[in-house]
Symmetry: D3
Subunit: 333 residues, 6 copies
């Protein structure tokens, strides 16, 4: 077996789930979910460090690394009720963006083609391009809707003289046809970027972007419900992209381009749970966790919990058992 | 006087209140409240450091350490309108859990037996067992209800080969008969522990546990009101146990087992105020403040404010003056 | 040109806007806004460090320092649609409070007299006295209302034997007649200071102070609406004073006297936007950002965004175009 | 195989060397060295955190975790030229010192009895008792000399009411007969502990302790040479105990009881190299690395390098090739 | 008794020594040493925070705060063999330098006049002026030599428009006649300040300044021996001023103006020991410990050890017993 | 003027020296030294962050940013006695190593061709290739000797599938003929990389590498003297490459691949001074300062001081005045 394993640090897996090797199809045959690290941060426009995101998110947990996590909220075990494998990292030399995203796309496509949901641990947001395109190559260009949690639209054109980077993947995805602009739902945008020209391009693609002011005034649940309807219209699956900076810097300081005024960690977890329970998610990425700027591992832990929340909700959805968020954990009787 | 004083650092008291010595009954005669440090963290399953919680919570304040704190919200001085003493620390060698909890229980019982409310500064949550049992030994086994703020149920059975530790105190309390399972109210649970077997045991005890998803969907005030009714049914007093990790890691990073998606600091303070104003609290503990993982003392400060909020509300309750949370501090007229 | 420039570090301007020199009126003629640093922290009663606030807030941003920040929420560019200049710092030797505040007042008055809005970057809150008085000297004593975001009332009398300091500026302002007590609106107070005597003096001035408990129970929007009505009554302009500690320490750890249970960053930004869009703001200060206690620059970044949010809203107000916070950024069509 | 694996975090090995299982003798048959984690910090008298020492020291390296580390200084590969295995951790519940040290001693003895050198990664210094006694049980009580690098003598008697803890192991070792007092060499002592009574007991045991003042004035190399002669006199092997706090806090901040004025990291590494090259080392421990207090992993990295330096020197010694520290790495010809 | 006590935090004393009150002469009658806090940092030209130096240095120790510290190196107990009292802090409002230094000088003089050695815990180096002048007022202007450890000469003239501040005290001391310029010995200077004009003034005062390059090339012991001869010539006592930034930033990061290339902590401790053992020290200050910039308390701990090393050496000197630094702590026989 | 300016943060210059623009030759005509930022960290094999090195080193100083720094040791002003300009940064997108080093080489060559000494602030060590090659293109391939301070040889071949990166520049330099292998002097190597194959290649190039063990045993001054002789043999100039990780992690924690056991900051500064005073330096780089891992700016400050020490020594060398390191700064007479 020629598993590449980890790019940084020891060869560990996500909370102890079993390893697989993407060059050995038998090792992930029948998997529901394959976790993949994309330790690339050469695309960051400011603070780097997201290369350590895969390692940090795989191990940020105070419980035993035993490949089991029974969810209190959903009453399923996302790591056991699903068949989950960890394929290790794609080798991503941060000084070579183009090779890195090429190799990530190949790995993601391999996973999707095997019928599994790829869960990609970034890395900076440059990887959204290969992540979502790798999934779309399997499910069909234009057949997968995108739900994108982020403070930033990531739809820039050319930056630092380059087409690729963590500020441009969404534009490249739409341009490539992998994702339709009118099935691109952005949640949590805020701040001072991009400017009118880029916004105008986005409008031309019929993107639907929820800036935080709208979210605050209408309520996040209502916005999500509206977005879900668009996402489900004439689509075969959902790709969920979570940039951890969608959360307020107080909840996620360990990131490259923090923007005050974001979601709380609770709101993000609740949203991810709803999406993965209510919608047919076919791919997931959690990006921009940058451990050098983290404190007491709280951002890495949040990234870990986003993954677990997603897997738990997918497991619950697949179980066929209905679920009511108002139901008590224990009702005292 | 043979006051043991502090286990770590200089011999200080909570914000400068007067000292007392548990071996000298005269020193705390007539006290309404006696503060006690339990600097034990040998029961932690992950990050230690809570041994420095008592010292940190006693001094985390930017105001003069003068034994006075007039509450803006409640318009009483919890440190002066009540008679408050600080008994220093129980000697708690972290390498010997059983001796430590034995000695803590004796100290807490001494305080309760003198008619005072013990306010125990932890320390890890292992101390809930001696804290609540020490109170129950005075008020009667089964006569004190528990309101327990925590991300974790702390109802494990045997861990690392031991019956005692910070993941098991609530089970031992119920097994011992000190607290009735059906008067055990848990607020803020979330995450991925415990698993089905332990939950089944809890259900068998008729515990009432509010997981965060239920809290978010029903609203915290409604959940609290419901819990208060259970707690008050056929009981003589309330023990309030606050594990600081009930708060989101963004608000309380300085703790051993942080779990994203928790209460805000504001929600915790509002809850503690309501509990101590509306219910007959007979004991209180604030645990799992771990200064080595704190930043800029914000978690220690939160622990300090939980104590002050509780004492202020107790003072207001005892004053007999009604209180309306909507009333302006200054009404401009 | 004899521009004093920066007291600490290199001579930079707020996100790259053009420099001006207060001794050279031509350099800021026609400016809508002049930014001024007041790097003074000799008035702090506890943690110092706010002297580095001006430098930190000027540069805390991951985008290019190009003097442009198009707001996603408001669809204006606060740095370009307005004429904004940065006058550098007032020399503020922290060991000499009285000289420092005298010189700050002169600088602020120079800006106001030129018809520009002074935006003062603190520094500790001692500077509220010269900031607001400098503005009032131009607009008329008693003609400017104060909206004051803070955990603390800052209305102490004599502390450490001195009349001036970061706990007393609001009292001195009212005593001096610069601001009327009954046009003084305080938002976000909480905690354990001041005591009854000072509160009684405040009541005697007919101040209107919104403690956090009232805010939580009535809702921040309702409180703001009520406060706006008072502020607008018989006044010519609004001075907005933002002490960053109005936010919860989880959102703003980098400050001198953090008090748990505050506003979220989101709430502060939403409030500042409303104030600057709905009211005639004539002066602004952002104070108590203390970088030595910050983590990953999140507090400095919040201070920076408070300024940008204010300038964007002022620009939108001046544009005459109405604005609806519920309107989508991009509506998907 | 029932390998216990890690107590905290993922199941990794020291820089990727192969695993073994102490319950399966075949898995470490023929090993020269077996690495063992002792993640215990219940014996600390002050700052805890050393429980994370084993995990931190195993992975603190920026090179690939490939089980190979060719030494530039010694021109051998300590991880490949020797047969090195990692047995994982002993389960060490920090709340139960006595059980923990009992189990550590059994594990160390198992390793020594198999003919391998145990390399124990602590954990606090309480583990010196089981570490050295486990070795002595195999080589014979009184037949192994101790070279002990530390700021502290660790010869206390009863502390916090207990015989065991990180301040007393050396006394217990001598009392038990495992190590002779007159074959106990202490290097690097300094500061203000212990007092006359304990020193008197130590003198009575004929211990040889080099306080830093002597070391500075005589030179470390001369002191070491002198100590080696004593250690080699009538002994069969050397146990090397390295408490990382022997280094100056500037070089090793991540420890529990830092004492200014210690060795530099360079001096420690040079000393360890000499000891393991010149003397017949039969056991080694590196203790008191406390990651919560570390910065940028520099202390963990130093602990890692102490282990590598020792293994490299042992490999060089076993190679039979003489070594000259003045020889150029590359001589330019 | 009207002891002012502490300016910041709880009322503690240096490692638990007894309190005294400078307004009550009986409370320090017969004291050999009186410790005084000067929590002033309004004179800093860059990073503040030294106001927390007194509190940090008083408690930075992992041993019990029992007023006893037996020195391993010197075999005396500096806190018990001498009569040591702690007078608490002088109230030092950092916004008013002139009042602060006036009050410090009065306090220091009170101590010196009572026959005790004042040990002043700073605070920034502005306090050297009142510290040394307060001593000189008792022993006679020009009768006390100064040995000054620092990276900086602190002989500036007017800075930020002021005569006083942490860059000027040595000039003011010489100008005032309190200390003779030709009895002013500076050790450890380096870096890029002051410039030629100030150096020329210094030369005109016949100061003797040892820049680090000279120290490295000649050896610190030789430089000290030479300096001692000058200091002892026609003088009645020595004032020892230790600015912690004389040490390399790696050993003392927690300071306001760190300058790379300084002494090691060991070199400073060895020097302080020699000075206090060989010379008639009549006053001591340890300044510029700035806890906000410290890591893991290593700088505060170094400041604490400078005081202990000094007191131990004074005690040894007073004991009359000769001392040989090469003598073993325990000689193994 | 089209000066690119800064890649990250505000457009500042090294301690306030004048700007120049490499596209405008007049702006740096006659300059002795041109400072250039190369904010590239895409070549790092482990911790990134060195992209912020240029900004951090330009401003890490507590003195006024006035373009003047009179050296106490050398009695010249390196920023004023030489004509020094700062050209800002080369745009270095970290995701594209090859373009970045191409552009750096062009910029460095432009500076060298203008007769100035380029001083390049890294960035990771990948930039040694364009830095030294840019200089050699002007002075002649093979005519410039290299003195290279580093813990690592940086002579790897292919890593992560790439020829370029921070572990390979020295190999590429020698292969390209820019620098002769037998004029390549490496100081401070240590640790566990590279292995025998690479060492064998290095030996084949006749490199002279001083590992720390040799340095400790022979003394750094003797090693330097020997190296200088080789460097000066048949060469026209010296390129000095300082990787900050040559220092011990205690002195330089803010770096990507720290290796314990290095030089002290003092030793590095003394060496740089000697080199620039005794040898004809024609180019200089300071690399691998990674601010995200720094503490209290001590590593950035050390990088800043390396530059100043070099410029001061060059100025002293050019002054023609002899210099004796044993000469007192002030001799007391």
């Amino acid at each position: 077996m020629t598993r590449y394993g980890p790019m940084y640090g020891p060869d560990i897996t996500f909370l102890g789930v079993d390893r697989c090797d993407l060059t050995d199809p038998a090792s992930f045959e029948g998997a529901d979910v394959v976790i993949l690290g994309a330790p690339f941060d050469g695309g960051t426009s400011h603070r780097p460090g997201a290369r350590f995101g895969p390692s940090a998110m795989r191990q940020a947990c105070y419980l035993a690394h035993d490949g089991s996590r029974p969810s209190l909220a959903l009453r399923v075990d996302g790591l056991r009720d699903l068949t989950v494998r960890d394929a290790g990292d794609v080798e991503c030399f941060s000084g070579d963006l183009e090779t890195s995203i090429r190799d990530i796309e190949a790995a993601v496509h391999t996973i999707a083609a095997a019928g599994a949901i790829p869960v990609v641990l970034g890395g900076d947001h440059s990887i959204a391009l290969p992540d979502a395109r790798g999934v779309a190559r399997h499910h069909g260009f234009g057949r997968v809707s995108m739900i994108h949690f982020d403070a930033h639209a990531d739809t820039g054109d050319i930056e630092f003289g380059h087409l690729y980077g963590h500020g441009q993947p969404m534009r490249r995805l739409i341009e490539s046809g992998a994702i339709r602009g009118d099935r691109f739902l952005q949640i949590g945008l805020r701040g001072y970027w991009p400017g009118p020209e880029v916004l105008s391009w986005m409008a031309g693609q019929n993107m639907r972007s929820y800036e935080m002011t709208e979210i605050v005034h209408r309520g996040l649940p209502e916005c999500l419900t509206e977005a879900f309807a668009i996402a489900l219209d004439d689509c075969d699956g959902i790709f969920l992209s979570v940039d951890i900076d969608v959360c307020d810097p107080g909840h996620a300081p360990g990131t490259g381009t923090p923007e005050p005024g974001g979601l709380s960690a609770r709101e993000l977890l609740d949203s991810v749970r709803r999406i993965c329970y209510e919608l047919p998610v076919v791919g997931l990425e959690v990006v921009e966790v940058a451990p050098p700027y983290d404190h007491a591992d709280i951002t890495a832990l949040l990234g870990n919990r986003v993954v677990l929340e997603a897997l738990s909700a997918i497991a619950r959805r697949r179980s066929g058992e209905p679920w009511d968020p108002r139901q008590p954990l224990l009702d005292g009787r």
